[in-house]
């Protein structure tokens, strides 16, 4: 009941937006090749997802590229991040370049990646992996570096190995930063997949939006954008949920009161 009530205000906002939208796109409003009415977009969604079902293979393609690239990029980022954070040598030789690449917009590489990896799924996966790699890499490094010095000395003073200290002290200490990097990454991953499809593809939601642009079929474009929005929201909600479950200790003071 409470939850249902909490949903009410945003639903009212939605109704208001739809109302204004409908008013502007009525018979006397904007032409539908500029802004289609909500009902036209609804019809495009309905046929794409329900009656014709033609959107599903495209969604599946985009989501596959997103998830596979995300998983590869994220695992790579944590592994390389751990290496850089733990090894002086690696840090000195590699870290400056990581910082430089981090500052570069990776989508600019999309055409090159398409040339190298073809126009199918592989190039999208590579682009996605590359885009979500760097923020997570930087977060992993700062997270591991930021592990409490006394905590590390404590574990060392009990003669625990360097590996033990890494796995049981540094990595958990870095977990909040890593989870934050994963949250940034899931949003970037979807962007990467769609950009890849814009540049060149014969499948995917990005491709559908791109070809609808050519036909001036704005209702279909809107439908595609809404599908991507839903996928993005679902993804980041899932990661946020994982974040809270995995890093359950985050944000809690370690000692709420001073007396014994």
């Amino acid at each position: 009941m409470k939850r249902a009530l909490a949903l009410l205000p945003p639903l009212l906002t939605l109704a208001l937006i739809l109302g204004i939208w409908a008013a502007f796109t009525g018979p006397t409003g904007l032409p539908s090749y500029l802004l289609p009415s909500p009902s036209l977009v609804g019809a495009a969604l309905w046929s794409g997802l329900v009656t014709e079902g033609t959107d599903w293979p495209h969604l599946a393609f985009t989501l596959t590229a997103t998830l596979v690239g995300y998983v590869i990029g994220s695992i790579g980022a944590v592994l390389v991040g751990a290496l850089v954070a733990e090894s002086r040598l690696f840090e000195r030789f590699v870290y400056p370049y990581i910082i430089a690449i981090q500052a570069m917009p990776k989508v600019a590489l999309a055409p090159l990646i398409l040339v190298w990896f073809g126009f199918g799924l592989a190039s999208k996966v590579v682009l996605v992996a590359l885009i979500c790699f760097f923020p997570l890499l930087v977060n992993t490094i700062t997270g591991i570096r930021g592990a409490d010095r006394e905590m590390i000395e404590m574990a060392r003073s009990f003669s625990r190995s360097g590996w033990f200290v890494f796995v049981h002290v540094k990595l958990p200490a870095a977990a909040p930063a890593i989870m934050a990097g994963l949250q940034i990454g899931i949003v970037l991953a979807l962007i990467g997949a769609v950009v890849g499809e814009f540049v060149s593809s014969d499948r995917g939601v990005g491709y559908v939006i791109g070809s609808a642009t050519v036909n001036m079929n704005v209702a279909v474009m809107f439908a595609g954008v809404l599908e991507l929005a839903a996928a993005g929201m679902a993804g980041s909600t899932l990661v946020r949920w994982l974040h809270r479950r995995i890093v359950f200790w985050e944000g809690r003071p370690s000692h709420p009161s001073a007396e014994s």
């Binding site: 000395e153 404590m154 003073s157 009990f158 003669s159 809690r252 370690s254 014994s260």
Partner: protein, 251 residues
Amino acid sequence: MSAVPLSLSGVGFAYPGREVLRDLSFTVADGEFVAVLGPSGGGKSTLLRLVAGLLPRSAGDILVKGEPVRRPRQDVGMVFQKATLLPWRTALDNVLLPAGFRRGASAAELERAQALLKAVGLPDAAGLYPSQLSGGMAQRVGLARMLLHDPDLLLLDEPFAALDAMSRERMALVLQELWLARPRAALFVTHSIPEAVFLADRILVLAGRPARVLLDWKVELPRPRRPETMADPLFNELALALRHEFDKVAA
């Protein structure tokens, strides 16, 4: 009997551009509780880190049971000023850290960890996370963790400094009780004169820049010491004399 638990001769240490300790020489005998008193920033934590093998080699010799200290040893245990509990582990798992947590611990170690939690007065805290413990409870878990490790040399770096006065006195009693159950060599750093007099067999005063051992006094109060000990004339005499010495150093 094995060699002396701890012996320092001519120990010095400098951080880059800052000499902290110079020419420290003293020994701690088996079963002897030694308090190290000194002003903050005076190099007390540095001294304990050196003895624990957490800092790279210094000038002079630090011998634990006759062997030079190069890295942390199995038979030396340290308690830090902060409780340094892992927030992502329960109290019981934190106590079991020296044994590799619950998964790595033997049945005997698990049983001992539970007994130790009881001994420090936390029989019901096993499943709690550090965020659910008060500062005093967290330090008790830290004590239990060190005792599970069961070292022959205890190093305690102002373990009660972050607690309020009441908890401090209670914790001093808990510490004494645990130590009396198996008296061993202990080096206890504090900047509280009453705490040092209450707990120690011997008090070293570390002061100056760089710091040296300025005083080495015996505390001849009977054990176990009780809250009433603080009303003992000898207790007050010693505390006052130490206070005077400190004022002289500060002047």
